[in-house]
């Protein structure tokens, strides 16, 4: 029902926080008990006197979380990082397809320190550049897909929360993601990141092979195949690890943000991420039998090459 003039005037008054008009009465929310005295006993709506019920609610404030602060439970879109890096973004909670355990998804260069991390290393939330320290440890490094100079599909890693209750199912400004979908050129996508928050862009390419600098040093690059390009850019430094979702169906993941140029953002396909890490987004799925895991060897590779720093010879330009 639209607000009538009397209700509008009431809402403009100091101390009145809100009005609700369920059938048969009017509820008026006020900041303080003293504000109750300002309320009329009844309000006339379309010629009918309706009784007023006053409720002391205090002031309503927009709820805005600081993405760079310590958040428990920690949602997707907030600051996180391996203890030896600055900070990236907690992408999303995901499920291990075999054990159904809830895990944290982000990039290898965020959770795995670009191959240099060891399984079990502490993961800070927020990341160290945002004030994270040992007391901010939310998880330990679980596994990652090793990045090699010549050819990669994903920059992805998982962390295992110390306490399951410390990980939220939600992503800030996006909500809960429950499934994945293939992406397509022209599709509008969205992400929620530690630095630039919520933003949207359009997919312009789903078959790109690109050189990405920063593995692990600024002048060393690794090649990534089968990448999604988004324009205009939706990521800034610190947004790495953000989950990318379909903007028209935010429960569906399409990618994992990991890199960008001055004008574009590069995103791993989420299908590749899920296949290589053996994860999914649905709490309803049953555990998959180990025998059916064709990619179990790939998922185990990070353990085999857990300390590959001496082998890792990125290309230099």
């Amino acid at each position: 029902m639209p607000l009538n003039e009397e209700m509008k005037k009431l809402l403009e008054q100091r101390g009145i926080s809100g009005i609700s008009d369920p059938p048969g009465k009017i509820k008026i929310y006020v900041e303080n008990e003293s504000d109750l005295l300002k309320l009329p006993q009844e309000i006339n709506i379309a010629g009918v006197s309706v009784p007023v019920q006053g409720i002391v609610s205090g002031r309503f404030l927009a709820l805005q979380l600081d993405r760079k602060s310590m958040l428990r439970p920690a949602p997707g879109g907030c600051s996180i990082g391996h203890y030896q890096i600055t900070a990236g973004t907690l992408g999303s909670r995901v499920f291990d397809s075999m054990t159904r355990k809830r895990l944290i998804l982000s990039n290898n260069h965020v959770l795995g320190n670009s191959n240099l991390g060891k399984i079990g290393d502490p993961i800070y939330q927020p990341g160290s550049v945002d004030g994270g320290m040992s007391s901010s440890t939310i998880a330990t490094l679980e596994r990652f897909v090793t990045i090699i100079p010549e050819e990669n599909l994903v920059d992805a890693a998982l962390a295992n929360p110390l306490n399951d209750a410390d990980l939220s199912d939600e992503i800030l400004d996006i909500g809960i993601v429950t499934n994945v979908k293939e992406c397509s050129v022209g599709q509008t996508v969205a992400k929620s990141g530690r630095t630039s928050g919520y933003s949207e862009g359009g997919i312009t390419d789903i078959y790109a092979t690109i050189k990405v600098y920063g593995y692990p040093f600024p002048d060393e690059y690794a090649i990534f195949k089968d990448q999604v390009i988004v324009s205009p850019a939706i990521g800034q430094p610190g947004d790495s690890g953000s989950l990318v979702v379909d903007a028209d169906d935010k429960s569906s993941a399409v990618g994992l943000l990991f890199a960008g140029s001055d004008t574009l953002t590069a995103v791993n396909k989420i299908t590749n991420v899920c296949n290589l890490l053996n994860i999914d987004f649905s709490s309803a799925l049953p555990p998959s039998p180990p025998a059916s895991r064709s990619n179990i060897m790939i998922a185990a590779l990070p353990f085999i090459f857990a300390v590959p720093a001496f082998l890792f010879k990125p290309k230099k330009r």
Binding site: V185, A208, I229
Partner: protein
């Protein structure tokens, strides 16, 4: 004539090692070259294996 995706794969192998070419993909039936600056544009063919090419000056891609 090879398919566009095959042509893109071949172009990726042939051109990605060239200074200034930072990525190769496809869009709207063309092969797209991502380049760091105008100098690199001179190294891009106007068509490749029967497909038109286009370019986007992106600068380098780096981890975020």
């Amino acid at each position: 004539m090879v398919s566009l995706s095959e042509a893109v794969s071949i172009a990726q192998k042939q051109f990605l090692g060239i200074e200034g070419i930072t990525g190769i993909g496809m869009a709207e039936g063309r092969i797209v070259f991502y380049v760091t600056n105008m100098e690199a544009v001179q190294k891009i063919p106007s068509n490749f294996m029967g497909y038109s090419t286009s370019y986007i000056i992106t600068g380098r891609f780096g981890v975020l």
